[in-house]
């Protein structure tokens, strides 16, 4: 049997294996992890013709440069990503949401995500990865998951277990849209903040700073003043929680967040807006908009329906 694998010529900035994440471990301190942008993860596997929870490669900003060794493999990239296939005949500019074929010696050069953060590479087949607690998702802080819990590194080999090739021409017409208004439900410590602080939170623009990663997104803007206490007794945190520490700058907890925290929670980003939130690169301006629980639940149903419709549109 021919061995199929990728050789990592350039690893990119934060390239990891991800799937849908791992459940039921918050109580021992392990976060959910998983692909940051759930919709683009699902679309990548759907276009590839894989099962929904198949491991993919997630990259941020600059992606990897990979050399393919083996017979032939199909793949696609989702997100808003610029990439080239470097073939013997010369380079071909790639489009997202479309399957391409790589042959022995071909290279895939994923230069960058455009005005966004995360992109996904799914092959029509499966990568050889380790699973921990039923998930390959890599948490580089706790060194849990595939690749010994580490980012993909230069010169390493990424082995491919099996390949299916019936979907070589599948594609989807889709353009990611950006959002500026992030909808939130008031947090359990909303009343810790002064009237001016609350007003700033919902009326002013905040800037996404460079100190943002898979753990959290740090924002900067008009200070959100605390009127009660800048600490709470440490308690559980979930994805999307917006904490405000003593300096008055909000931090949004993302997929690899610490499971326990001691800062007041001013709000929680609704599930329907999470995928688009994580795609906002440093420098983006955002504004928070308050909504109630029933509306958030409805918006999530709508978001799920949109994703399903996109899957149906893959041809």
């Amino acid at each position: 049997m021919i061995k199929n694998y990728f050789e990592v010529i350039r690893p990119g900035i934060n390239t990891t294996f991800q799937d849908l994440g791992r459940n039921n471990l918050y109580h021992i301190g392990i976060p959910f992890s998983g692909a940051m942008d759930n919709r683009n993860f699902i679309l990548a596997n759907s276009i590839a013709g894989n099962k929904e929870n198949t491991p993919v490669i997630e990259f941020a900003y600059q992606g990897p440069l990979l050399k393919f060794k083996g017979e032939k493999i199909n793949f696609n990239i989702t997100g808003n990503v610029s990439f080239n296939l470097i073939k013997k005949e010369g380079p071909i500019e790639g489009n997202c949401y479309q399957n391409y074929t790589l042959e022995e010696g071909d290279q895939l050069d994923i230069f960058s995500t455009n005005k966004s953060v995360y992109g996904y590479l799914a092959i029509c087949g499966t990568f050889e990865v380790q699973f921990q607690w039923n998930s390959c998702s890599t948490n580089t802080k706790a060194n849990v998951g595939a690749n010994n819990g580490k980012k993909i590194e230069k010169d390493q080999l990424i082995n491919i277990l099996d390949i299916h090739s019936e979907n070589s021409k599948r594609r989807l017409e889709y353009i990611n849209t950006k959002i500026e208004n992030i909808r939130v439900i008031k947090g359990t410590n909303f009343d810790y903040f002064s009237d001016k602080g609350k007003k700033n939170f919902f009326e002013k623009y905040f800037t996404v700073t460079k100190l943002s990663d898979r753990m959290g997104m740090r924002l900067e803007g008009d200070k959100i003043e605390n009127a009660v206490n800048t600490n709470i007794k440490s308690e559980g945190i979930i994805k999307g929680v917006i904490q405000v520490p003593a300096d008055g700058n909000p931090i949004i907890m993302l997929s690899d967040h610490g499971t326990i925290g001691g800062y007041p929670k001013i709000g929680v980003v609704i599930s329907a807006d999470y995928d688009k939130l994580v795609q906002l690169p440093p420098g983006s301006k955002i504004k928070f908009q308050e909504i109630e629980l029933p509306e958030a639940e409805m918006l999530f149903k709508l978001y799920q329906m949109e994703t399903k419709n996109l899957i149906l549109k893959i041809k």
């Binding site: 459940n23 039921n24 471990l25 918050y26 109580h27 021992i28 301190g29 392990i30 959910f32 921990q132 607690w133 802080k141 706790a142 060194n143 849990v144 819990g149 439900i185 947090g187 359990t188 007794k233 440490s234 308690e235 559980g236 945190i237 979930i238 999307g240 929680v241 610490g258 499971t259 326990i260 925290g261 929670k265 929680v268 980003v269 609704i270 599930s271 629980l293 958030a296 639940e297 999530f300 799920q304």
Partner: protein, 224 residues
């Protein structure tokens, strides 16, 4: 027993057991945690018990706040559910190179290093919760004379195994991490083992911890 249940965003229940931190309230939290965990309720993805709160996260594709709130309110608690309570001995070395904040503590608490050690090693500690980073135990309560604030500027990197104090609690950093607790020593023991999926944490909520002072020589030989 739960004082109030509210929603934390659109996919979690926030169960409030009160504002105080004590073993009685924490045992109630843990009792709920163990009962709910055992029941494998459809849609629940995570449970996070802490000193006096329990957060129940769920998959919004499967269930919702209203349904789960009703389920938790009507939950019949298993009365005989007894908390497992293991006694765990943790060796720590308090040599200068490990005790990053001992001088600070002497100054802030206005007691000598010897006195700090005497107070610290003479108590048994209760594990209220684990988390923040994988396997990190929150242990209490410290002797009142050791009650202290977190560092004003947290360290970017605290070495693995560091034992820290903050407020009336102590903890053990299970791997290198940022953090703001006052470090008094280091344990050579592995507290979190990711390869043991069934029981990755050496210390679990409800357990009792006793610290044992070891020398530099014992520390170095510990993992041989």
């Amino acid at each position: 027993m739960i004082k109030n249940i509210s929603n934390l965003g659109d996919s979690a229940l926030y169960c409030d057991f009160g504002n105080d931190v004590n073993r009685e309230i924490n045992s109630k939290v843990l009792k709920y945690f163990k009962n709910i965990k055992k029941k494998n309720i459809e849609g629940i993805t995570n449970l996070t018990p802490s000193y006096n709160k329990l957060i129940i996260s769920f998959d919004l594709k499967v269930t919702n706040y209203k349904i789960l709130k009703k389920l938790i309110e009507d939950l019949e608690l298993n009365k005989i559910e007894k908390l497992e309570n293991n006694k765990i001995k943790i060796p720590i070395c308090c040599e200068k190179e490990f005790a990053l904040d001992i001088k600070r503590l002497e100054k802030n608490l206005k007691i000598s290093e010897e006195k700090i050690h005497e107070k610290f090693f003479s108590k048994e500690y209760f594990c209220y919760m684990t988390g923040f980073i994988a396997g990190l135990p929150f242990l209490g309560d410290l002797d009142l004379s050791l009650k202290t604030k977190r560092l004003e500027t947290p360290r970017v990197k605290i070495p693995k195994g560091s034992v820290g104090l903050a407020e009336q609690f102590c903890n053990i950093y299970t791997f290198e991490s940022p953090g703001g607790w006052n470090i008094i020593g280091n344990s050579p023991l592995n507290i979190f083992d990711k390869t043991n999926e069934a029981k990755p944490n050496l210390i679990n909520p409800g357990d009792t911890v006793i610290f044992e002072k070891i020398s530099k020589a014992q520390y170095e030989k510990y993992n041989d």
